[in-house]
Symmetry: C2
Subunit: 412 residues, 2 copies
């Protein structure tokens, strides 16, 4: 049977499939993608599954239920990475899913549904800039406008499909019919420090925050540093600085998360008062209501700053995604799996500030997620990302127990 | 005799000598420089002066005193400009000086000193990046390191001297001996709104602020917007924003002037917490003590911010000039000139936040300055810079009266 040590070894083995010598980078429809599909498919077969690559390049494996052809429970995550990635983000979830199937088959479990393990080919969007391509195909929400997306070398998504041996005309075949699935469960390393801080190995995910992103501009009046006294200034940078601090304070008070990642003052002369500042805002919260309330407060504060300082504030939304909420009955299944494993009667609940395949699969079926403690301060999207063998062992037990719990309630 | 109308016409005529079709740009040792020297020399001769171009390309004119060969009072300002300049900055002071000499000669004034009118060829530093080249030559503080300074086209200062018909080896000849001068008086348009706000035409200058400029860096820790909660962030931009606002508040409270003109956050991803911010500070005050006290306060606040937020602050001074203070007995002369003209017993006193030729001449002799109201909100270094004919008339009377007042006290 596959244990935690084996899972970590498998994560190490997949980390070798990288387009870069240092760090890990493995993008959609690349030779490395083909290599990890082949390897994962091999492990799926060892676990007793029939395997195939779907029409969007996702690797799949199926374990039939009590009788062949039953609706299927989807277990999955992704095998692609960001540049200079860690080795667990996505990958760990796929390896856990394969191990759970291995255990179920070893124990001759009789399940009221089939299980499909999905190893998505694109969650991060590293190659084509648009994320969740693998899971969108599975969910049946593929958008034909994506075919002309191009990577850094100018290769379009359509060309990359053909190079990978896929038929763009058949991408629709990757989609499930809703009636054929009974839900989606995903295990994933936490991309934050909350479990580590709480000294707990596992958490239930309540929702995945939908980020809104804005391009912001504060406009004032440029002028010479020596010539314009304070009372006549309309300093766009002083105004923008107030906004940056208000963003931090308002988001913090609301339990949301907000980041001004980009900011530049113009014209940018050492002795010129800034006449314009361009900056960005990334805003996330457990619910869209909380997020949008914080945004409204930020706008109010910006308006007050503009009135006081004689400035103008403009915002343009550049990205917006709704929060997706886990299905209560599947959250209960994850919770039951954790409780059965750790004895903790009331497992920790977290909302995910990062995106996941579950966001796309949510259009197809109910979903829930299990978070596993990130071992080093929540470091994510970085080679230092880490998990302990002990936590993987607990996660494997809990994930298996969750599937068994769902089987019990589903049958009843 | 030359009146205010004539002075304005002369400023208009010189504005036509520009290397650009739109706006005014006239730089050191250019064909336009030669043209305005020739024109100003002509007007100096009409005013009864003997004229010559000195070894640094400054145009000069001399009116002898009661007997030939007396020590000389210097009256001057500059004829060069910034890019897209106004037509009065520097030029007005030269035209007023010529007009004062014209009046003194017309009235057959008997003066206890000669008068040299100096039309400096470089104050702004537009061409070679280093300012006050003309007045430094006159003050005897020329630095041979400057010879290799190059303009945008790669021409060095040395090459430009030769092209202009000057001998670099003889630049020292432009310098006065201290014993040969009795002081320096300069009239200049105010590069700020204070006289306009006070509804007054003229002010006495108390000192010229010496700017200190710094390259500042705030360093924190980059991280993913979705993954790092507020209590674990070391957001360099949030810290730098606090510094920007503290700079504004501390300078304002101290009566100093401070500008953060340049600021950029790195790495600059929309969903990445800024790990580093690079920004600039330009700091000016009436005295070096006030300026340096504000800088010390800013450093203290930055240190407190760093402790609280887990950031590091670094500063590097990129420019530093001491404030130069007007000589009390020459300030009295300017004040007397204003009072004699406007009847105002206690004329307004301003410190200059912009640099002037007087800063360089201060190394040679005592100095004082007269400021003339800027007609449109203090706009400077811009084509909209303006003065009224009425103010020029008052300035001319006051500047003449100041010279006569100095002659009276000097003789006594």
């Amino acid at each position: 049977m596959i244990d935690a040590k084996t899972i970590l070894n498998r994560c190490d083995a997949l980390a070798n499939q990288s387009s870069t010598r240092t760090g890990i980078e493995r993008v959609y429809l690349s030779p490395e993608h083909a290599a990890v599909n082949l390897q994962a498919g091999h492990w799926m077969q060892e676990a007793g599954m029939t395997t195939w690559m779907d029409a969007a390049g996702n690797q799949r494996g199926r374990l039939e239920g009590a009788t062949p052809g039953l609706p299927t429970l989807l277990l999955g995550s992704h095998l692609d990475t960001v540049p200079n990635a860690g080795r667990f983000d996505g990958i760990l979830g796929v390896m856990l899913a394969i191990a759970v199937v291995d255990r179920l088959r070893e124990s001759d479990a009789t399940l009221p549904f089939a299980i499909d393990v999905l190893a998505f080919g694109d969650e991060e969007g590293t190659r084509f800039g648009t994320a969740l391509l693998g899971s969108r195909a599975v969910a049946g929400t593929w958008d034909d406008q994506w075919w002309t997306l191009a990577d850094k070398s100018g290769t379009t998504l359509r060309e990359a499909f053909v190079e990978f041996g896929l038929d763009p005309a058949k991408v629709g075949d990757a989609a499930y019919r809703s009636d054929d699935v009974v839900g989606y469960l995903e295990a994933h390393i936490e991309q934050g420090p909350y479990l580590e801080e709480a000294d707990l190995p596992l958490a239930v995910v309540s929702s995945i925050a939908g980020a809104r992103r804005f391009a912001l501009t504060m406009t004032g009046e440029a002028g010479h540093a020596g010539g314009v006294p304070f009372h006549r200034r309309h300093d766009a940078l002083a105004g923008a600085s107030e906004v940056v601090l208000a963003v931090e304070q308002l988001a913090r008070e609301a339990g949301a998360i907000a980041t001004v990642g980009r900011l530049q003052a113009f014209p940018g002369g050492v002795n010129v008062i800034p006449g314009r500042v361009e900056f960005s805002l990334d805003l996330r919260a457990e619910t869209d209501d909380v997020r949008d309330a914080v945004w409204a407060q930020i706008q109010d504060v910006a308006a007050e700053i503009c009135t006081r300082r004689g400035l103008a504030f403009a915002d343009e939304q550049t990205h917006g995604a709704p929060a997706v909420v886990a299905a209560p009955h599947l959250r209960d299944v994850i919770r039951a799996g954790i409780t059965a494993t750790t004895g903790e009667p009331d497992p920790m609940v977290l909302f995910s500030k990062a995106g996941h395949d579950a966001m796309a699969v949510a259009d197809l079926t109910d979903w829930a997620m299990l978070f596993i403690r990130n071992g080093r301060g929540g470091i994510s999207h970085h080679p230092d990302e880490t998990v302990t063998e002990a936590d993987v062992a607990v996660a494997l037990d809990a994930f298996e127990a969750a599937v068994r719990a769902y089987a019990a309630t589903y049958a009843a």
